[in-house]
Symmetry: C2
Subunit: 240 residues, 2 copies
């Protein structure tokens, strides 16, 4: 893991860009060390530089967490793939035409998740070797990748999932094997994500402690107080 | 409003029994005054002395709220009614026999709500005339009564509803007229309360700001942290 640049913020948070082989990432760390770690990813492989993700990451870092994110293969700063570009174009076309999109999402998000998993595990190992990062480890954001990680990776102790993103059938099946504490965040009127599918997914998780927070509004309308609620969820599971 | 007894608790909360005509009630007030008020009631007219309600009331009072509750006509310390006793017996019989219970619930809870409404409004007026109580006013607990109150009573500014209780058809219809901020608390596996009906009710509320917290577990399994989450909901709407 090589640090490429660093930026000191007024709230004591240190923000560093890093490279891990060909994987680009960002790490935010608080003034206090060692800090518990939160891995943070956006649904459907959205870029790690997205302002909403950066905002959440800096909030959590200011609350005493190390937060790390990487770009998935073909996403963000990384070279795109012809097949993913084609799937995204086909997705736009089908949505505009009002055609079913599930199979296109399967062909796009399924491989994204499978390809992202080993890189996130590699990144997790490298991050935990840093002296400024301790356990335990939480996860935040992209539901499909989070399910995959929570099942494959025993070091993940708690996870917050955002319901607004396509979850491939394989991960919907796998949801029953997720047993860590969960906070599941649902936008009640999310335009592109069927509500019933999110409710079914919440029902399917195998966790004994799972909480859903549903708020009125569309995909990007999550109210600000959910950031604080999420913080307290991680505090209960990662700081006690 | 006549105070009958008082008890000082170690956390600075003063607990007083009162009578308002024939209505018996309890008022908890914090050390600081004037305090915002939360009206608190249990679903289906359960007694105001129920330990779960008392626990919630004392928690909120310790957080700086005046909390008041009264027994509904025919409930708690008040003389029972022959028709309600009969409906409750019929309910037990039908439940044991595995028969439908909706119509029995309608005949029991419908009149409970209608009879309780004017008494809660009378109590609200009397409470707001006390110097130790200021506005604004919140509501907590019994969903059906809360819907009725939120629609009829403009002084209610925010409400937390517990989904686990029968909501008569009239209040399910009225839910669209509720426009104040809501926190709706659902136990995902509540034995006696169909989940879909609760989800439909959440969907129906007319409020622009409404949040549902759903947790795994049965009717009485609400996790402790929801008490704190509820406190922050009231803080946002009653203290700002």
């Amino acid at each position: 893991m090589h640090f490429i640049s660093e930026q000191h913020h007024d709230d004591g948070v240190l923000e560093r860009e890093f490279a891990l082989g060909e994987i680009p990432g960002t790490l935010w760390t608080p003034g206090s060390a060692p800090a518990p770690l939160i891995l943070m990813a956006h649904n459907n492989g959205l870029p790690r530089r997205d302002p909403r993700l950066v905002g959440r990451a800096r909030y959590s870092a200011a609350q005493g967490y190390a937060v790390a994110t990487i770009d998935a293969p073909g996403c963000g700063d990384r070279p795109g793939s012809a097949s993913a570009d084609q799937a995204r174009a086909e997705l736009r076309r089908a949505m505009q035409a009002g055609e079913p999109v599930d199979e296109i999402f399967e062909s796009l998000v399924g491989p994204l998740v499978e390809n992202a998993l080993p890189e996130w595990r590699t990144a997790l190992g490298a991050l935990l070797s840093l002296p400024e990062i301790g356990g335990p480890v939480g996860y935040s954001g992209w539901t499909a990748l989070g399910i995959r990680l929570a099942v494959a990776e025993p070091r993940i102790a708690a996870a917050g999932f955002f319901a607004g993103g396509y979850v491939p059938r394989a991960q919907r099946e796998e949801a029953r094997q997720v047993t860590i504490p969960l906070l599941f965040l649902l936008q009640w009127d999310d335009e592109g994500n069927p509500r019933q599918r999110a409710l079914d997914l919440f029902d399917a998780f195998g966790s004994r402690e799972k909480t859903m927070h549903a708020n009125l509004g569309g995909h990007v309308g999550t109210p600000w107080f959910e950031l604080e609620d999420g913080g307290r969820f991680y505090d209960r599971h990662l700081k006690s």
